[in-house]
Point group: C2
Chain length 363, copies 2
DNA sequence: CTGAAAGCGCTAACAA
DNA sequence: TTGTTAGCGCTTTCAG
């Protein structure tokens, strides 16, 4: 069966198409109440659904947003960004085109062209982790960058405030009384997450604030994984007692999970013997550790919302070029006061080699 | 500046719009090579980009697919489904509208209407976990269900073959020599994942095949989380030695992570003392356990691909109503042969209450 | 208070 | 081998 058009409604209601259009769009006009009702009834009766295509063509406005992302949900929590963006789009009657480029420049170019061809009203360019991105050629000037900062100036963007987040994490530890606070960073050098340096800076600033000198021995690096975290923390725990950290700030939750392993392998307890704080608040990791991991949350949902809101022209005022979003500390059970200095339990092993199943009691 | 239209190209090239259309669409026609080149050059010169809107309106075909999902990336790995779908769409020049309904029926209705108004060429209805869904009113008859089975018949759908997956997991354990194999299931009753029963059935069938009687004492339940898994497994480990399982099949990786905790708390080793197998292959959990968890993968990416392929009319032949997709076993290091029956190390505690920091050696 | 008609940008039938 | 023209379904001036 053929599509039912506005003219069918008009015929059914015994009016012109103009009238139907006016009525159904609630356009300001002097159409009688009686006619309005007749039109609406007719529309219902024939099952009329206006064509967005025709309307878009006519109005040159499609109520459609393009969202280009480099990697969809490679990082699991990043789906929250989509959800945030999706959410406000929906509430404003917008539909979103999602294009995943897999980081391929050709695909990206094609995507930009395709979205332009669709005459999307706005474009969002999202990265699945906070970094600096090259501005793809052809991207509309009013595109909004989500979870990344464009190399070129003049674009609007929203990113997590990783510096403040790093500071908040460190403050959490300092506030609990710690002085020997280690920082376990990612060792990534290529395509390095700028979050790495920002979080470290935040950490340093808080140490300075608190008047504690940063001890280079308390800085370790590893690959971003539980293994990497375990190895890095293991080294830290090899330090002589008086230098050993009483708290460790890990670049992210995956590394923190590795920290747990290393700590457990020594027979130390969290947080009694050592406090751990992570970053990212990955539900599947942080909340499920034993004890649950205190960490800093990345405001993915909120960033997604923000990006869509500026893309849609809500939030017109506060359009500073780049918006930093707060990363709140999520308090769980892995941070406590440092062990009393008097009792120096030296339960830890001296061996450098960890066995995998080291939870097994020593004998 | 106004949009450049096909007529602009025609004027620039000194030909008619028909010619331009024919050339740029590579339509079979007898246009001279010379003209073709002139047209293409002109198109480039004026920076022409055809309007998908106008074309869609004219052809009644939009090259656009609607993808409705209940919860976007609440379950992290589910993003892989989107990636799969996205991927084949892109390769076929299709753009996808993603709408997330958050499980709200009103939103769903609105989404269906909006997609119809956009005249999408096909619709995919995705659930973020395998279950039976009510068919939303107004959904096109040719919609494809992704990771869910519609209540009503007559629709095409793709789901993981959880029964075979459960069997594969059990077979992995039986093959390693185990006979006392526990099954730790989800205790969910509302909106119960049908995977729960299917995996259990697969497990039972393999036990039967192998001639081992299913021991009701080796069935445990818990909430789907590390905690739930830990509690359930903890009970299992309380069984008398001769009844205690030598291997445990957990409903999913999260529960398996809990199993690790419970096992460690007893001072037992994986896989030397007890083998564990999970389900889902959640990277952040399975691959990062110590030792890495052997598990069964959910073929999310492949299901996404499949759904999009049937939606696009590729795979016309094999359109059985519901397609089951294989769940392959991912071998890592948590499965080994059962401990030799002669040496019965009874290291485990007898207390029922586990302390959180039980990795600490007993003293 | 309501209707006629132009036109958004394109494709496809038909003409030349 | 190429051009003319109708029309996809809608909104929106402009007339009545």
């Amino acid at each position: 069966m053929a599509r039912v058009r506005i003219s069918d409604v008009a015929a059914a209601a015994g009016v012109s198409v103009t009238t139907v259009s006016l009525v159904l769009n609630d356009a300001p006009s002097r159409i009688s109440q009686e006619t309005r009702e007749r039109v609406r009834a007719a529309a219902d009766a024939v099952g009329y659904a206006p064509s967005s295509l025709a309307r878009g063509l006519r109005q040159q406005r499609t109520n459609t947003i393009g969202l280009i992302s480099d990697q969809i949900a490679t990082t699991p929590y990043a789906g929250r960004m989509l959800a945030g963006a999706q959410d406000v789009a929906r509430r404003h009657g917008q539909l979103v085109f999602l294009v995943d480029t897999e980081g391929d420049a050709d695909v990206e170019r094609a995507a930009i062209r395709a979205l332009a061809a669709q005459q999307v009203d706005a474009t969002i360019y999202a990265s699945m982790w906070h970094r600096v991105v090259r501005v793809p050629e052809g991207l509309p000037r009013d595109a909004v960058f989500l979870d990344c900062t464009p190399e070129a100036p003049g674009f609007r963007s929203v990113v997590p405030d990783d510096r403040a987040g790093g500071a908040a994490a460190a403050r959490e530890l300092v506030g609990a009384g710690h002085r020997r606070i280690a920082f376990v960073n990612t060792a990534d050098t290529v395509d390095r997450p700028i979050a790495a340096d920002l979080r470290f800076e935040g950490y340093l600033s808080v140490l300075a604030e608190a008047g504690v000198a940063a001890d280079p021995a308390l800085y370790a690096q590893g690959e971003v994984s539980a293994r990497g975290g375990r190895e890095a923390v293991s080294q830290l725990l090899d330090l002589p007692d008086e230098q050993r950290p009483t708290a460790i700030f890990c670049f992210n939750d995956r590394m923190a999970a590795g920290a747990y392993m290393a700590v457990r392998a020594r027979g130390l307890r969290i947080p009694e013997d050592i406090s751990i704080i992570g970053y990212d608040d990955q539900q599947l990791i942080a909340a499920e550790q034993d004890p649950p991991l205190t960490t800093v949350a990345l405001p993915h949902y909120e960033m997604g919302r923000w990006a869509m809101e500026v893309a849609l022209g809500i939030r017109a005022g506060e359009t500073d070029a780049t918006h930093q979003m707060e990363c709140p500390v999520i308090r769980r059970d892995s941070v406590g006061p440092p062990p009393a200095l008097v009792a120096k339990p030296s339960r830890r092993r001296t061996s450098h080699t960890e066995r995998s199943h080291s939870a097994t009691p020593e004998r």
